[in-house]
Structures are given as structure tokens and as C-alpha cells.
């Protein structure tokens, strides 16, 4: 199981029956593959749709039916389409139960940065700033380090996406929860020790030695 699959599987265990969920582009999109059996969630795509599934078979794509990453999707029975103002009224208005976003950095206070590396690469915030402002829970799904550098840092060196503290950070090594006291290690990945997680984390971590192993769901 590679890092991305571990992260996606663990995030999927945060899904609850009946939730409206927004998955960011890239890694978070994988979460849709691991929805636990027996529960039903609706996915929102911020370009204007609730209720979609995996890409259609080749040759059955519709040019007017794509996800927020531009990939072709299929709408499910019961799907609803709407314009961008309505889509963001859903997001900002607290109607989205959970948003899963990638991040470039998360800091000790729980703020994330994910839309610009000033002077180098500035993709823009897209819908991320609104999602962090409005979703009931915000989960960061990201690899623990990038090119050997920790992505969990004491203080952001990149501009924050929002002043809000995210709800949970899930990486291929650990599940970490930001709190008033700081970042708390909740779970460690199978076969990964607490010391290794602390060593790969650039911020102080409240790390109980008996942190449990993260569940990864079943197939």
C-alpha cells in the first residue's frame, strides 16, 4: 500500500452516513474509492454538482459533466446541478459536513497553507479559502514530508489559507489533531514508531508513547 492509499483509506474512515463531502483535487479525490461499506455519502464538486461517481467508461463522457479537477464524471440518480454562487452558498453556509484538502504546510496552531509559494508557483486558492471558512470539519490529507522537509511546521513560512484551525491532519505516518495545547498525535501508521513520527515532524508534537495504530478499513 503506498502513502497516498494509506492516507485516503484513513480519511475515508472519518466519513459518516448522510454527510455532504467536498474532496479537493489531487490526493483527496482518492478518498471516494474507500467509502466504508454500509454508509452513504454525497460528494459535492464545487463547479456545480452534488451526486457524482467515478469516470464514465471511455466513449461515454459528456463534455458538460466534469469534476473540479476537470476530469469527466458520471452523475448519480438524485444528483443536482447548480451555478457557482449556489455552490459556494453550500460551502460557506455550513451545509458541507466535511472538506478534505491537500496542504503545502500546516503549523502548530493548526492553520494550513495550500495556494501559493510566493515568487515560485502560485496556482491560486480556487475554492480552498471558502471551504476552510465554511465546512463543518476540515481534514488535511497530505504526505508527511516533501523532498525530505517536514510539512508540519512550528510556524508557516507560506501565506495561510485561512485563520481557522483545521480539524484533523492525516498523513501516511500519523493522524494528528490540532488543539488548544498544540498538535496531538492520535494514531500512528502500521509499523511506524512514535519516535519516527516526532523526528519527521517540524513542530512540537504531544505524543503519547502508547498512541494506537491507525485503522485502514477493509476492501
Amino acid at each position: 500500500m503506498d502513502a497516498k492509499e494509506i492516507i485516503a483509506r484513513r480519511v475515508a474512515l472519518e466519513l459518516r452516513d448522510g454527510m455532504l463531502v467536498n474532496l479537493g483535487i489531487g490526493l483527496p479525490t482518492l478518498v471516494a474509492r474507500f467509502v466504508p461499506k454500509g454508509i452513504s455519502v454525497a460528494f459535492q464538486s464545487e463547479n456545480g454538482l452534488i451526486g457524482f461517481s467515478a469516470p464514465p467508461p471511455e466513449g461515454m463522457e459528456n463534455r458538460d459533466l466534469t469534476d473540479a479537477g476537470g476530469g469527466f464524471i458520471e452523475s448519480l440518480p438524485g444528483a443536482a446541478s447548480f451555478d457557482s454562487a449556489t455552490s459556494f452558498a453550500l460551502i460557506r453556509g455550513g451545509h458541507v459536513d466535511m472538506a478534505v484538502l491537500g496542504a503545502l504546510q500546516v503549523e502548530a496552531s493548526g492553520r494550513l497553507a495550500n495556494w501559493t509559494v510566493p515568487g515560485k508557483f502560485t496556482p491560486g486558492m480556487g475554492g480552498a479559502t471558502d471551504l476552510v471558512a465554511g465546512a463543518k470539519r476540515v481534514i488535511v490529507a497530505m504526505q508527511h514530508a516533501a523532498k525530505g522537509e517536514p510539512k508540519i511546521v512550528e510556524a508557516l513560512t507560506l501565506p495561510p489559507t485561512s485563520a481557522r484551525r483545521v480539524s484533523l491532519i492525516v498523513t501516511e505516518l500519523a493522524v494528528i489533531e490540532p488543539s488548544d495545547e498544540g498538535l496531538v498525535l492520535r494514531e500512528r501508521a502500521p509499523g511506524v514508531g512514535v519516535a519516527q513520527i516526532v523526528a519527521c515532524t517540524g513542530a512540537r508534537l504531544i505524543a503519547p508513547k502508547d498512541a494506537p495504530e491507525m485503522p485502514l478499513g477493509c476492501d
Binding site: 459533466l65 476537470g70 451555478d83 457557482s84 454562487a85 515568487g119 502560485t122 471558512a133
Partner: protein
């Protein structure tokens, strides 16, 4: 109320150099491709483009960037278009990045006679720089001003000759909002049907908002 269809070339001739232009679409989905082609052909210059993104270098708004038609961009995301990134870093294009929900609401306000909107999005970030804040019931909101443009270029699914428009699936996105927010609104539908064919309940943009319809080349 009847409108006659004009060609994409005639429509592009109306869009003067230096104009501000809202363009519907999300990564090219729901963008008016024939109008964009015509603007590229007529070598439009100095445009300010307002839209969600700049798509890809060969798709949608990206083709206007690639062809040198654009001086300024106001969008939420330019990460899929390396040309926009390069021109921005080199100073050849000015880019204002706006959170997507804020962009939608600024355009809606511009079309709805509002001075702007109050939003929590962006409080405590770069987005808030230079903007007023207000406190409402204990929460802080940014004042985000309305956006309008000289032109809105829309793609619709069906139009009738009254200018009424329908959209399909995720191709609606910013199009119905922009229809309210520009002095001249040019809609490029997939089909133009006789008036009366679109049921009133299915109309998403009332025809009174549409200045010109673009027909298919004969």
C-alpha cells in the same frame, strides 16, 4: 423582444481592445469557444478577463492568454495554465487572485445592484489586505466590492429568440451570474430554438439580460 443571431466574428468586433470581459466556464467547461476563437482571430488586445480560471494553454480562456489578447486576469485559480504563471511572474500579465466563492458573490452583487458582499472568507489572510472589515453578531467579515464588466461572454445550452437561456450540468458555473453583471451580454448557445419551446420554468437566464445571441455559421 425578438433577438436576431449574429456571427461570432460580428460579436468579437464589438469587444473593443482594453475592455473588461467576463468569460463563463470552469477549466474550459461551459466557456464560449466560438467567441474565444473569434477574439483570437481578430487579434484582440489589452483585455481584462474576469473568470474562474485560465484553463489550459489550448483550452477556453487559456487560448486568449496564449494569443496575447490579455493584459489583466481576475480569477480564483491559474494553476492549470503554465503560460499564465510564466507571464505573471515575468510581469507581462497582471493577476488578481480571488477566492472562488468571493468571485461568484462579487459578480452576483455587481449584477444585483449591490455595492458588494460581507464574507468570512479570507479574514486573517493576504486576501484581507487593504479591505475593510465589519463585525456582525460577533463575527468578522470582509467587505468585498461588487464586480462588473463591459462585456459578458456566456455559453448556454439552449437559447430562444427572446434570449432566454438554459444550461447543462457543470457547464453553468459562472455563466448565469455573469449574465447580470455586464453592460453588453453575448450568449453563445449550443442551439437556438423557436420562442416558446423552452418552458418558462426551465429558463435560468431571462432573455431581457441578453444583448446578443451568437448563431452557428451557415
Amino acid at each position: 423582444m425578438r433577438k436576431s443571431a449574429i456571427t461570432a466574428e460580428a460579436a468579437a468586433a464589438l469587444v473593443f481592445d482594453g475592455a473588461s470581459v467576463m468569460v463563463g466556464g470552469f477549466l474550459g467547461v461551459g466557456s464560449p469557444d466560438r467567441l474565444i476563437d473569434a477574439l483570437v482571430s481578430r487579434k484582440a488586445r489589452g483585455l481584462t478577463i474576469i473568470g474562474n480560471d485560465t484553463a489550459y494553454p489550448t483550452v477556453g480562456v487559456g487560448r486568449l492568454i496564449e494569443a496575447g489578447c490579455v493584459a489583466r486576469v481576475r480569477a480564483s485559480h491559474i494553476g492549470t495554465n503554465p503560460t499564465t504563471q510564466r507571464l505573471m511572474n515575468g510581469g507581462a500579465i497582471e493577476v488578481e487572485l480571488i477566492p472562488q466563492g468571493t468571485l461568484a458573490e462579487r459578480i452576483r452583487a455587481g449584477g444585483a445592484g449591490l455595492g458588494g458582499v460581507l464574507t468570512p472568507t479570507g479574514v486573517g489572510t493576504i486576501v484581507a489586505q487593504g479591505k475593510q472589515t465589519v463585525e456582525i453578531d460577533g463575527a468578522i467579515y470582509l467587505i468585498e466590492k461588487r464586480l462588473r464588466a463591459d462585456f459578458a461572454l456566456l455559453r448556454a445550452h439552449e437559447a430562444d429568440y427572446c434570449g432566454n437561456l438554459t444550461y447543462r450540468l457543470t457547464a453553468a458555473n459562472f455563466n448565469p451570474l455573469m449574465a447580470f453583471a455586464a453592460d453588453c451580454v453575448i450568449a453563445e448557445p449550443d442551439e437556438i430554438v423557436p420562442s416558446g419551446v423552452i418552458p418558462p420554468d426551465s429558463v435560468r437566464t431571462p432573455g431581457v439580460l441578453v444583448t446578443h445571441l451568437v448563431g452557428r455559421a451557415r
